[in-house]
Amino acid sequence: MAILIGYLATLGVYFCIYNIFAIGLNIQFGYAGILDFTVITFMAIGAYMAGVGSLGPAQPGTEIYYILGLSLPWPLALILGAVSAGVLGYLIGLIALRRLRSDYLAIVTLAAGSIIYGLVGNNTKIFDGYEGLVGVPQPFNGVLNLSPNTYDLVFMIFAAVIMLLLWVLANRLYKSPLGRAMRATREDLDVAEAFGKNTYRIRMMAMVIGAVFVGIGGVLTIWFITALAPAGWGTSETFVVWAALIVGGMGNNKGAVIGSFLVAVLFNEATRFLPSINGLPSLIPEIRNICIGALVILTLRFRPQGVFPERKAKFFELPLTGRGREREHEVVVTGAEE
């Protein structure tokens, strides 16, 4: 029983984390149309920085090297991770958003991700290279003294609270005039610019806010599994987040939720705990990838708008006075169209 609870709690945590990733990507792509093909890099930077923020200083002689090692309390580590991801988002945005259109922008994000991957992996002095960080302290664990399964449950609630908070903020952003301006830049960059929107600034905001969200998801990741190495944030992980958003529906945060549940939890994470088949250890991961790919293809073929498509904006309206004139106008329009 305890094991089952632990298993479900683990899936619950992954659900929250992927949900945060998907909402972050939704802000970047669903709101502002920024093709960010390096989502997972923001997660990694958030995670690493929170990791080196929570860990104590690297001990000489252990052959484990990493920067900082500040032994920060968890809220400060969380902020460090989130801010670092935001700064990285800003730096990539500086290169990618100033004059590049969506397709070139995608290439820049992909390239930036590869550079950072190589840098972090090959340079053992930053985050201990391909070995990665291990033994990152978990929030509350020292205080509460819980069994691992119970702790997972507590952590799931903790992650859910953060997810809800970010969900509320993302929805507020969507409904606000700023979110509307973001969608206008997504629809037509030149027109939004000609209508007085500083499209560079607006897209940069979407880029940074999205990066911060994904970074917070990264912080939760490293706290939950207490370790992170480059193998855990390859390009394929970016694809999982994209798949979640495509299947769920872009531009709608509900889509991000259902997508993270279907893709990230049911296919990507739940299957990790299946016992491997004798003699074919890589069979399950391969089937998993096939399933996710097929899900994306089927969605794009049969329901390209996703499970929950973007909804029409609703405005509070007063009834219009002088309806007669309006009807007369409409007659003219329909008459003129023939």
Binding site: L169, R172, L173, S176, P177, L178, G179, R180, A181, R183, A184, E187, D188, D190, V191, A192, E193, A194, F195, G196, K197, N198, T199, I202, M205, I209, G251, E310, K312, A313, F315, F316, E317, L318, L320, G322, R325, E326, H329, E330, V332, V333, G335, A336, E337
Partner: protein
């Protein structure tokens, strides 16, 4: 007549693309409260001039002054911020947004576009938002699009998209509008309706228009003043009836760029 003060003046504008000199010293003024047409054969540099004024392109030389401010080299959103809004040659609505929302994007300097207000102080922009909705509804009613307000803009017909472009520009409360071929590809009934809207906006709201247009009948009916461009320079200016007498203008329209090339130097 109108006030005779120029609201926009373009001086010695030049722009090359590689070896092609698209604009070579175009020069004209648009008087406040007028509807000015910018005509000329294809390749005369009309669209380039519009892009140079609106900030979509940077001029190689020359100045653009709008309401006494030198706006040369401004970014498009800065030009718009000064009250000069342009439309595009092809209707470019925000397709996946509703008609009403297309208008709601337009107002300049919205309180709710600040990140902090957007996330934490929604009360700050609620009342402003309500005013914008009311205003947008009134404008849609004027343009006969009220019934379509909750439709996605991509579902409108070509003519309705033209009307939406104009309505969306009006929502931004501009001082001046630059319309790049607003009558292209629409039927005569709608052409006259758009012309009426322009005249109404000029009379009631004091708008100034600069309009790139090929249909000379429309130009004659709607415009007070006409600027003729050929091969990147101003060939002639005046009212349409004055220009009809001008042999050079007639031949520029008939023979393309050869007149301008002949007078080069």
């Amino acid at each position: 007549m109108e006030q005779m003060k120029p609201i926009l003046s373009v001086a010695q504008l030049e722009k090359s693309f590689g070896g092609v000199q698209a604009v070579r010293g175009a020069e004209f003024e648009v008087l406040e409260g007028s509807i000015t047409a910018l005509i000329g054969p294809n390749g005369a540099g009309k669209s380039t001039v519009v892009n140079l004024i609106a900030g979509a392109l940077r001029p190689d030389a020359g100045q653009v002054h709008f309401r006494g401010v030198d706006i040369t080299g401004y970014k498009p959103h800065q030009v718009a911020g000064h009250g000069l809004i342009r439309t595009f040659q092809i209707s470019r609505e925000y397709p996946a947004m509703t008609v009403l929302e297309n208008l709601m994007v337009s107002p300049l300097g919205q309180t709710g576009e600040h990140l902090f207000s957007a996330l934490f102080r929604r009360g700050h922009y609620k009342s402003e938002e309500r005013e914008f909705v009311e205003k947008a509804i009134a404008i849609l009613d004027e343009f006969g699009l009220y019934g379509m307000r909750n439709e996605y803009a991509r579902n409108l017909s070509g003519g309705q998209k033209r009307l939406l472009e104009l309505a969306r520009a009006v929502m931004a409360d501009p001082k001046m509008l630059i319309l790049d071929e607003p009558m292209a590809g629409i039927n005569p009934a709608l052409i006259s309706r758009i012309g009426e809207h322009m005249l109404r906006l000029k009379e009631d709201n004091g708008y100034t228009f600069l309009m790139v247009e090929h249909n000379l009948d429309v130009v004659e009916r709607v415009c007070d003043h006409v600027v003729v461009l050929a091969v990147g320079r101003t060939l002639a200016q005046g009212t349409m009836s004055e220009l009809r007498q001008d042999a050079e203008v007639v031949s520029a329209y008939l023979t393309g760029g050869s007149v301008g090339a002949g007078t080069k130097g």
